[in-house]
């Protein structure tokens, strides 16, 4: 973690940039969908109570 904090490098490697962007976009989209579903279930339970 210290190495990461100290690093000033602003360069990406081509293949890592593509793969990293894809992984993060999919993860964020999945996370958003999961969040909406969880919120929906909570509202459903709250409504039933």
């Amino acid at each position: 973690m210290k190495k990461l904090l100290v690093s000033k490098s602003g360069t990406n490697m081509g293949e890592y940039a593509v793969i990293g962007a894809l992984v993060l976009l999919v993860a964020i989209a999945g996370f958003q969908a999961l969040g909406v579903n969880i919120l929906g279930k909570i509202m459903e339970v709250a409504g039933a109570i």
Binding site: M1, K3, L4, L5, V6, S7, K8, S9, G10, T11, N12, M13, G14, E15, Y16, A17, V18, I19, G20, A21, L22, V23, L24, L25, A27, I28, F31, G35
Partner: protein
């Protein structure tokens, strides 16, 4: 929400977006010149972003943590610079829109570099983040003003 509220909200977004873009532009300039971005420009937004995300709630905090952890893994594998990790994490905390635009721009720039110079070729990523965020800013906040999307 009446028109005044909409305009006030739009102005707040405009000012925040403009400040974010200004910061990204300064970082991009440094990255283009020296392939490095000063820690003075990246650590305070990272720290502020983590605090802001924590204050916003679990969704923002989880999103920011997800980006930090994924980017940190890429950093440890040698594929991403430390400044890029800090900038992406700050964007995840402060502006999900800028984050998505920056990631799309990073992917596109990476693809171009990969095809032209090979997968192991290095390129300055912060200008791509700034370009992506700038484009999203124009599409989201500036164009509606001229096309009457606010009314």
């Amino acid at each position: 929400m009446d028109v005044l509220d909409a305009v006030q909200l739009w102005l707040t977004w405009l000012v925040n977006g403009f400040l974010g873009l200004l910061w990204l532009a300064v970082c991009a300039r440094q990255d283009l010149r020296s392939r490095q971005v000063s820690n003075c420009l990246t650590i305070p937004p990272l720290a502020g972003g983590l605090l802001y995300a924590a204050a916003q709630g679990w969704e923002a905090l989880l999103r920011t943590t997800l980006v930090l952890l994924t980017a940190a893994v890429l950093f440890h594998l040698g594929g991403m610079g430390g400044a890029d990790v800090k900038i992406l994490t700050a964007l995840a905390a402060f502006s999900p829109l800028f984050l998505l635009a920056a990631l799309l721009a990073q992917g596109a720039a990476g693809l171009v570099v990969w095809r032209r110079q090979g997968g192991r070729a290095l390129f300055p990523a912060v200008p791509a983040y700034a370009a992506g965020a700038g484009l999203s800013f124009v599409i989201q906040f500036v164009l509606p003003f001229f096309t009457g999307g606010l009314s």
